[in-house]
């Protein structure tokens, strides 16, 4: 019976570790990018607090919902600075930045030369949150879009048309009427 427990425990542990490892390999790429972005944040943190807010705000601002690290796969431009920066331990608070959702301020925690935590300050205000949510793009019905007849608009925006396709476009009709 003890052998049964030992075998099951070993099996469960190895399984859990393997799952963690597997999950980790997917994160590594994103993590290296995060480190890169964090590196620039921290580096500017040492040179001046005002710089910290720039990168920080774009890294962890409202509405980016965590997926930003995934899509940041190719933002290698900022990665070089990660290794060079000898960051001091401490918390660094960036300058408050006025955004369309009100004041956003970013605080980072640096431990052992790495940014270990990023906190957005001044974002807990419920009013600002709701403003933020209402400003986000949400699914709507076609009938809810500001309607207009083609005769009423002054110009037409659309995916770029070639000069050939222009001839059959609404814009061409408008231009012709005003020639």
């Amino acid at each position: 019976m003890r052998a049964r427990a030992a075998a099951a425990a070993a099996l469960a542990s190895v399984g859990i570790l393997a799952a963690g490892w597997q999950a980790g390999t997917h994160v590594v790429e994103a993590a290296s990018v995060t480190t890169g972005a964090a590196g620039t944040t921290g580096a500017s943190g040492t040179t001046g607090a005002s710089g910290a807010s720039g990168t920080g705000a774009s890294g962890s601002g409202p509405g980016t919902s965590g997926s930003t690290s995934g899509s940041a796969g190719s933002s290698s431009g900022s990665q070089g600075s990660a290794s060079s920066g000898a960051l001091k331990n401490g918390t660094f608070t960036g300058a408050a930045e006025e955004t369309r959702f009100g004041e956003v301020q970013v605080q980072i925690v640096v431990a052992g030369g790495k940014v270990t935590d990023v906190k957005a300050l001044h974002l807990t205000d419920a009013e600002r949150r709701s403003a933020m949510i209402s400003a986000t793009a949400a699914p709507i019905l076609r009938s809810e879009v500001l309607q207009a007849q083609s005769a009423n608009v002054d110009t037409v925006s659309g995916a770029t048309v070639t000069s050939g396709a222009y001839l059959t476009s609404l814009q061409a009709a408008l231009d012709a009427a005003r020639a």
Binding site: A8, A12, G24, A86, N89, D117
Partner: protein
Amino acid sequence: MTTALRSSHRPSRPPGHGPGAALAETLRDRGRRRLFRQDALTVLAWASGAAAVALYLADGGAAQFHSLSPALTAIGVVAGLIGTDLVLAMLLLAARITLIDRAIGHDRAMAVHGKLGKPALYLILAHMVFLLLGYGVADGLNPIAEGVSMWVNLPDMWLAFISIVLFLAVVVTSLVAVRRRFPYEFWYVVHLLTYAAVLTALPHQFSVGGLFADGQWQRWYWIAFYVLVLAALLRYRIWAPLALTFRHQLTVRRVVPAGDGAVNVELTGLRLEELAGSGGRFFIWRFLAPGLWWHHHPFSLSADPAAGRLRITVRNLGKGSASLMAVKPGTKVSVSGPYGLFGHAARTRPGLVLVGSGIGITPLRAILERAEFSPGHATVILRASTPGTLYLRDEIAELCRLRGATLYELVGHRARSGNAWLPRHQSGLGLTDYVGDLVDSDLYVCGPTAWAESVLADAKASGLSGEQLHRERFDW
């Protein structure tokens, strides 16, 4: 002087397929279920340790070993994760959770709890040392300067440093050698610091630890683990004793001598019949009198409750129980339990062998009173160095007579050779000489540690397996 006394005639063996066969089957099934619970807990414990490491791996931890500083940091983080996992597991083991008690018994849970203490401390110390080294290399500072820098500059780190000092204090005072130099009271108060150590270690994990930063799913696992432990402690360490105490309203009725240096404490209370049938399982008692109330005592009932009264038998074993000898009638008593596997629930075989020494005899009486066995299939061996310490001897002899159990009273100084648990003159004998159907019996042992080890060694040598051996530890 030595007496070997048979107070009951050993009847002839009943046929193999008697009423004992059904009992054997029930007991075997019960034993299997308990072993399954044991194994499940073992697996769970290991899995939680693996999960703590997996949290880090899932965050890309495996990629940290490319150079010195991140590798040191990674080792530090993993040590902290496993160490904290162990600390939380220790708290769960000490929480007197019913599930754990039913599977391995509270006494064994506490033994495991004790064994985990040092590894947990070493891991937490390693957590600090490796992170100071790793961060130090990254910052170009020596570990001491790095520690100062972290204390000064990082949020909650000063609490973490206090926490590690507290952990150190708790583990050091728990070491047997150190523990003996201080009164129990001192050790107990220091042990309560565990909670302070766990709490002060908490903030830095979430504010400095990148793994548990806001937005990481690992943060939720970790919070859930802490909440689980807290809930278990509240439910089983606080709520359960309060509820039981208020339900039974126990009060000391009288204290009467019961042999050399021992007393019977008789208690009155409400609904005491609900406490019947606990067998040799123990309750944790607190006598709510000045100087006594914060000292808890594990005692089993020495007789099944009857007529609104119950009884425990206390021997003067230390300062704590010495003061109990003088407890005044009318003292209110808080109680929780029963705990442990030293009862009927642990039975796996139709036969029953009870071996007790000194004050360890008293729980055996309660088992004997209620245990299921067919007449002739139970043996009671009482061991004492002098006849005066054969506690409850008369009551046990009467019970043996009523229920058809064989009783041996072995009095005399310990043997120096052979089976050390026996008196000197019987040292050439063994359990098999006293019990005919030993291999088909459960063996209950209660008494001083070294003596009990000797009994168990004899039993194992006689072919009994681990599941048949039941031992009450009085030394935790």
